[in-house]
Symmetry: C2
Subunit: 148 residues, 2 copies
Amino acid sequence: MKKIDIQSAPLSAGSRYPEPFAAPCQNKVRHRLAAAAGLKQIGVNLLDLAPGAWSSQRHWHSQAEEFVYVVEGEVVLVTEGCEEILRAGDCAAFLPGDPDGHHLQNRSGALARIEVGSANMRNDETTYPDVDLRAAASGYFHKDGTPY
Amino acid sequence: MKKIDIQSAPLSAGSRYPEPFAAPCQNKVRHRLAAAAGLKQIGVNLLDLAPGAWSSQRHWHSQAEEFVYVVEGEVVLVTEGCEEILRAGDCAAFLPGDPDGHHLQNRSGALARIEVGSANMRNDETTYPDVDLRAAASGYFHKDGTPY
């Protein structure tokens, strides 16, 4: 039996960002599918974004690769000076070291469900170009290195 | 612009297995999404399985992790002594070193589309419990080590 029971997969709700950065990212739930299955190399989450919610603050990774596939609904993929609509069946990928930060916004009136894949998260550092925030394995920091 | 143009992603059609193992796996097409986007750590393919087609011979990996998410249609996930139906929205994962080999069969009358994610394919060896076949980076071999 290899089928994953999505309903019983571990959940991660909301955002752990320091405020005020968490606020727009609170109305979301991640179904942690890879964790449910015991995968170690690939991260796979099913991300449910409520109307109005953001997937994260706009960011880019130093080491990690990311892939998103829209399963249901519609989101706006925001990058530097660019907005693209992703609908069910659309996908996008984000390369480590590319400073063109990204995030997803659900501006629709309906739930959006996105499959989010990642790899190489070890030793990753995350840069947030729009806000005074940096992330590493040890926590969240101001741009000047002061911890939150 | 980070959205992937699925229609222009590189395609890989059919199977490279030696015959007769290729025959049931020929009627399939992989849209190589990760390759289109330049990802190196994650493999992501959109696999279109025609009615009657198998994703592969039943197999397991020594190093690679695999994750499958059914986007459209219905497939049968076959493992050792077990069959499970996966429909759109269902998913499954396969751990390296687990000798309970797996594959997908499209026994329906309609196309099935599956998103297939993988990681850690380097130095992988693939074991096929049902047939006289082994695979490594250097090619396909009989169980006794003789190359095909």
